[in-house]
Each structure stands twice: as C-alpha cells, then as structure tokens.
C-alpha cells in the first residue's frame, strides 16, 4: 500500500509505517482508541487518517437516483436486463434478469430449469437492443453432464424462436463458441472455478452470464444434518463469491436450485407454499430475485409437438410483483403461453395503475 497516495501529513505516514499497517482496510476495521495506541498519533490525526482511508476505500461517490437512471455512472448499471428470448416471460420479469445480483431459479426435477438456463446462454449473446449483453456465458454443471445435444438443437432453431431479430444477425453469431462449460463436483472445485475461471472470463468481457446448475447438489451430500453451522458458512462463502462477481462485472448470475418440503416456522417465512427451495433461510437471505418453475397438469400442443405446461413464478424480487406466466417447452425453446385473464390489459402493464393480482394455485 502506497501511503503517499493518501496525501497525509508526513508524521502520520511515518507513524502508520512504524505500526506496520498494510492497507486502508486494515486501518478502517480498527477502533479509534486502538489506532491511537498503535500509531501514537493524536485524536485529530487519527481522524484525518480515517477520513483519508475511508475516501480511498470508497468505490464511488454517492450519486442521485436521477443520475443512475440516466446512466451517468458506469460502475452501477441499474436498469439493464438480460432478456429470456420470450416476450411473455420478459413481461413477467419487466425486461429480464437484473444484471447486478443473483437470481435463483428453483423447481422440481423435470420442471424446465436447465432449459431456461440454456436459453439464457443464447439470449445473452444478442446485442443490447435485442435484450442481450453482447457476450457469452459460463455454465457450471455440478450434477448432470452438460446437455450438449439440446443446446445444439436450440441453436439450430434460434431463427424460429427469435422472430424479432433479423436472420442475418442470428446467422453471424457463433453461439457454441461463446458458451464455456465447466464441471464442479464439490464445493472446493466450485470455489476454484468461480474465483479463477469465472473471474478471468468476466474480466476479459468474454462472458456476461454465469449459470450454476445446481447449487443444492453440492451442499446436500457433503454435510451431515448437524453440520449446519459449517454448511451455512460455506453457503455464505459461495454467495459472497457470486455476488462479488456479479457486482464487479455487472453480470447476472443464475443459480439453479432444487426444492423440498418445508417443515417448521413456515408461517413467518413463506406465503403458504408447501414446496420451497432447498438450502433454507440462510441461502434465501442471499438471493436478490427468487423464481420458481412448476410443472402443471395440463398439456398444450402445436402442430406436431406437444409439451407439458409449466409455470414460471416470481416468488420475490425488489422490482417485480408476485405473479407468474404459463409456458411450454418446444423444440426451439421456452415460450410463454399468454394467460387469457391478463390478455385484455395488453403488453404495457407497467404504465397502468393497478394492483397486480396474486396468482393462487390452480
């Protein structure tokens, strides 16, 4: 740490060096009496030191929400979204996944979580005006091998799914070149993958989406039930890594999770749902947006294809109302099915002043 950068009086700098303080972070976590004792500086000098250290540690000056909305701060990309490739689902998500934060997608096996993960790996590669981020994706598999054939099928059908994009643009994108696949069988390898591979790819601008499929798999087998303290610590470590990556590189992180039955104190936590995402409260506190995908009883058919109906629901998000959209899984990917109840209001729901209805279980 080059203390001269802080523009402090020479006597303060020599006192810091004598006390072997190595960084501004070290200075900021010490209390004022401790600092006085360690450096031998007077009260006002310590205040000056803390003030300079705090200014150096700060990543950005406070900005107004108006400046943020106008895009005047490069560091904080608020409002940018990663589209899913389907306008019905994008409407539910008010544009798509937020770029700064961790989105969780939970559901039973076979619900379609991996399908949505793959679809996002493709939609991220489109330019910003078509809902993408002009970069690739990193897909980290923790249990099942990567579904390469399904990805190839989705790629070949992109012109059919993305009718809003000119086919010449789609033809120019080298989709499979920009999707990086990693396998992580345990927590240690996940942490290594995130701290090295993910950080490098994000820093180089080659990817702007990280998908972890799934988080639950790593935590369920490694810990015995009474090891929950250690498990919570590991959860916090993983969460802290993905949040750091997301905010540092303004890239959305999608964590796919499994579900289980809830047992105790459901009344305080959920709104009466019986199946809830795995990993408990400690993990729930860490996610910014929580989505759930459910398989419904009905099926839909279209031409020669038929698909079981699913439902994508917003459980909580800072900018989204609770609600859901039905969707089907076709050859070309996930497509939302327009709900006849909401259809009369039209696509521009955000402009209207209304209470969005709470969807009850069918």
């Amino acid at each position: 740490m080059n203390w001269d950068q802080l523009q402090l009086k020479p006597r303060i700098i020599s006192a810091i060096q004598r006390a072997h303080l190595k960084s501004v972070r070290e200075v900021l976590v010490l209390s004022e009496p401790d600092l006085q004792k360690m450096t031998g500086l007077s009260g006002p000098d310590v205040q000056e030191l803390l003030h300079a250290a705090a200014t150096a540690c700060r990543t950005h000056q406070p900005i107004t929400a108006l400046q943020l909305q106008r895009g005047e701060c490069r560091r904080l990309e608020s409002g940018l979204r990663l589209g899913t490739g389907c306008p019905v689902l994008d409407q539910l998500l008010r544009g798509g996944l937020p770029v700064g934060g961790v989105t969780e997608l939970a559901g039973e096996s076979g619900a379609g979580k991996t399908q949505l993960g793959l679809q996002l790996c493709l939609s991220v590669q489109y330019p910003v005006e078509h809902g993408g981020l002009s970069a690739g994706a990193l897909y980290i598999c923790t249990e099942d091998p990567f579904p390469i054939r399904r990805l190839q099928q989705l790629i070949s059908e992109q012109t059919s799914l993305r009718s809003d994009v000119p086919p010449s643009l789609i033809g120019r994108l080298r989709f499979s070149d920009n999707i990086y696949v990693e396998h992580a069988a345990d927590l240690d390898s996940l942490q290594v993958c995130l701290s090295r591979r993910a950080a490098l790819l994000l820093a180089q601008g080659r990817v702007r989406l990280v998908v972890v499929d799934s988080v639950a798999a790593l935590f369920r087998c490694e810990f015995r039930p009474d090891d929950w303290l250690e498990r919570n610590k590991q959860l916090l470590t993983v969460s802290s890594m993905v949040h750091h990556l997301s905010h540092e590189f303004t890239a959305p992180v999608l964590c796919i999770n499994q579900v289980g039955h809830t047992y105790t104190h459901t009344c305080l936590l959920s709104s009466g749902e019986r199946l809830s995402p795995a990993l408990g409260l400690a993990w729930a506190n860490q996610v910014t947006v929580r989505l759930m995908m459910r398989r419904l009883q009905a099926t839909v058919s279209r031409g020669d294809q038929s698909s079981a109906l699913r439902r994508l629901e917003v459980v909580f998000a800072p900018h989204l109302a609770r609600g859901g959209r039905d969707l089907a899984v076709w050859r070309e990917g996930l497509r939302g099915v327009l709900d006849p109840v909401l259809a009369p209001f039209g696509p521009d729901v955000a402009q209207q002043e209304m209470v969005l209805p709470l969807r009850l279980n069918r």
């Binding site: 209390s31 107004t64 009344c267 409260l281 729930a284 459980v315 800072p318």
Partner: protein, 352 residues
C-alpha cells in the same frame, strides 16, 4: 463545571437511574464511554449517549419542562409509511432522531418499505411531510431505480389529488418524479469495510446537506453475516456502528432506518426465528419492526419500542408501493398541519 445530574435536561427516569447507579455530579460522567455508562447504570445506549452529551455541553443550561420537551418532540416529526394503520401504531410514522430497524424474511417487503420511506420523506411540508432528502446505502443490490420510479409516480399522484389551496399546488411543482429521484443519494457497498468507510464519511456528507432527513442502510446483516470467522471483531464493529448511527440520528436530526435478516436460533432444542446479528446489535435500534407472513397475509409488528405498545397491522405491497391491506379508493388521510405551520401561513397571508 460541576453540576448535579438532577439539573441536566434529561428525562426524569433516566436521571433517576443515573443517580441510583451512583452518578451524582456531571464530573462523575466525564471520561466515560457510552458502553460503560449503559452497562453501569442499566440504561440503553441511546440514553447513555444523551446523558454524556448533556453532561459535557451544559453551561448553566436551564432545566426544561415536560411541555417544552413534548413540543420539541413534535417538531421532530416522523416519516409516513403510506400504510395508515402502521403510521397510527407508530404514532405518526417512522420517527426522526431515532434508529428504526426493519426485520423480516426475504421477500416480505423490507426493501419496499425502505424505498417507500425514501419517497415519503420528500413529501412537501405543506402536506405534512418533511421535504427532505435521503441517503440510501445499498449492500445487497436490491435498489432498483425502476421500482423507485413506480413509487414516486404514485406518491405524486396521491398528493396532486390532495392539493386544495394555492400553497399546496405551488408545492406540487417541485414534487415531481424527477425531483424525487434527484433527492435520493445512492451508495452501493460491497462489503462491511466499504460500509464502515461510508459511515466514517457520513458526518461530512450530512453537514454538506442540511436537507437530509433520512438514512437507509439495506441491509446491515448482509455484509456483516459474512464475517463469521472472527465473531469478537464483528461484535466490536457492530457496537461501534450502532453508536455512530445513534449519534447521527440525534446529532443531525435524521431518521435512521436499517434492515436486518432473520436467522434460526436454537432455543432449548427448538428452532426459532430471531433477528440476525445477535443481542449486541439488538441494542442499537430504538424501534424494531418485524415484517412477517401469516398464510397469505403480510403483517407488520412493532416488537421493541420504548414509546409504543406492541401492535400488529396488516399491510400489502401494490404496484404503487407500501399500503394498507384493505385498500379502498380513498387516498391516504391528510396529515394535519402543525400549529407552527398554520401560524406561519397566517403571518404570510397578513403580510407581516
């Protein structure tokens, strides 16, 4: 100057506790820090800080009557939440000059309430609001401008419906979505060290912005829960943080609102939900609001407050923001203007 503690301008119960703990004169209170005083005299940290400030500052300060204290407290005002039942239970709203904590499970509405308060603090004085600015410290990444725009638009519409006289209509020209956005200052902190750094620079920020009336930290739990390998350092840092927030609230006359997570505590082999960060942090806020689910209803309860009874009210989160549960079409009830406002406006009318 040596004065008896009983002559300081403090609440009588506080003075009684100090005297009973053996602090007869102001000289006894010198060189004490608030933690020691609160432990010795059995008072909250907020009261300890007040006592020490009174002891060091008093130079022949005349005793204040209870009536004067009441009038002074009424001047302090509070920030409405737009959920009239919660405002009533709180005695007007979230109080200025104190630290209020909002705890609850993820998704129950803590960030929504913080965003609502960030809009409500800006309601012009002629509508009974504070016309103030807000500093929003975001540690979780939950601050979305899109949502703030929703809430600001709804608040502007409500106030336009309420505007009756010329003064209020003039005030509405400065209460627009754009001005509301320009009065919300955002800082994003990625970890607890950046949060501590921001609070070191808070005093400067506050003195440059006399109109600032609200500080929101959403959340305190998120960065500090990661500090699980050195719990004693975490306790010490949280204690210092709490004191700094109380000092900012009382010294600069702002409302401080923090949010907290819920964790599971093992209590005689039974798992219970409790606010995170432990009892040490629990002493910092004067008021604690617990937001929770009961089947599909959302409830807000006041669980810790020296001035309010424990109460539970139902609320809902709509497109317009934080509202009462039985939302009918009537706009939120007008806040009556206080005595000083009316006399000021009548003076203006008569041209004095």
């Amino acid at each position: 100057m040596k004065r008896p503690v009983s002559s300081l301008s403090l609440g009588s119960s506080l003075k009684g506790k100090l005297v009973r703990a053996g602090f007869q004169f102001t000289t006894d209170l010198q060189d004490l820090n608030p933690e020691h005083l609160s432990a010795e005299a059995g008072v909250s940290q907020q009261e300890a800080l007040e006592a020490l400030q009174a002891a060091s500052s008093g130079h022949g300060v005349a005793p204040v009557t209870a009536l004067e204290l009441l009038q002074k407290e009424e001047e302090f005002r509070s920030i409405v939440t737009f959920c009239s039942q919660l405002d009533e239970a709180l005695g007007g709203g979230v109080p200025v000059g104190k630290v209020t904590e909002i705890c609850g499970a993820p998704g129950v509405g803590k960030t929504q309430l913080c965003l609502q308060l960030a809009v409500d603090v800006q309601v012009p004085a002629v509508f009974g609001g504070l016309g103030g600015q807000v500093l929003f410290v975001d540690t979780e990444g939950g601050f979305q401008v899109q949502r703030l725009v929703d809430l600001a638009g709804a608040a502007v519409r409500h106030c336009s419906l309420l505007a009756e006289d010329e003064e209020q209509r003039v005030a509405m020209t400065t209460f627009t979505v754009e001005t509301i956005l320009s009065n919300v200052f955002l800082v994003r902190c990625r970890d607890y060290v950046e949060l501590l750094a921001e609070l070191h620079l808070l005093a400067d920020f506050l003195s440059n912005r006399p109109r600032l009336r609200l500080l929101v930290i959403d959340s305190v739990a998120f960065p500090f829960l990661r500090l699980h390998d050195d719990l004693s350092q975490r306790t010490r840092l949280l204690q210092g943080l709490g004191l700094r927030l109380i000092a900012a609230a009382t010294g600069h006359n702002i409302a401080v609102v923090t949010t907290n997570h819920m964790t599971t505590r093992l209590h005689s082999s039974q798992a219970q939900l409790a606010p995170a960060l432990g009892d040490v942090w629990g002493h910092a806020p004067s008021i604690r609001l617990l937001l929770r689910w009961e089947e599909s209803r959302r409830l807000a309860s006041i669980v810790k407050s020296p001035g309010h009874m424990d109460a539970s009210v139902q609320y809902q989160i709509t497109y317009q923001g934080f509202r009462d549960a039985d939302q009918s079409e009537r706009p939120p009830s007008k806040r009556p203007r206080s005595q000083t406002d009316q006399s000021a406006s009548s003076r203006k009318n008569t041209g004095t």
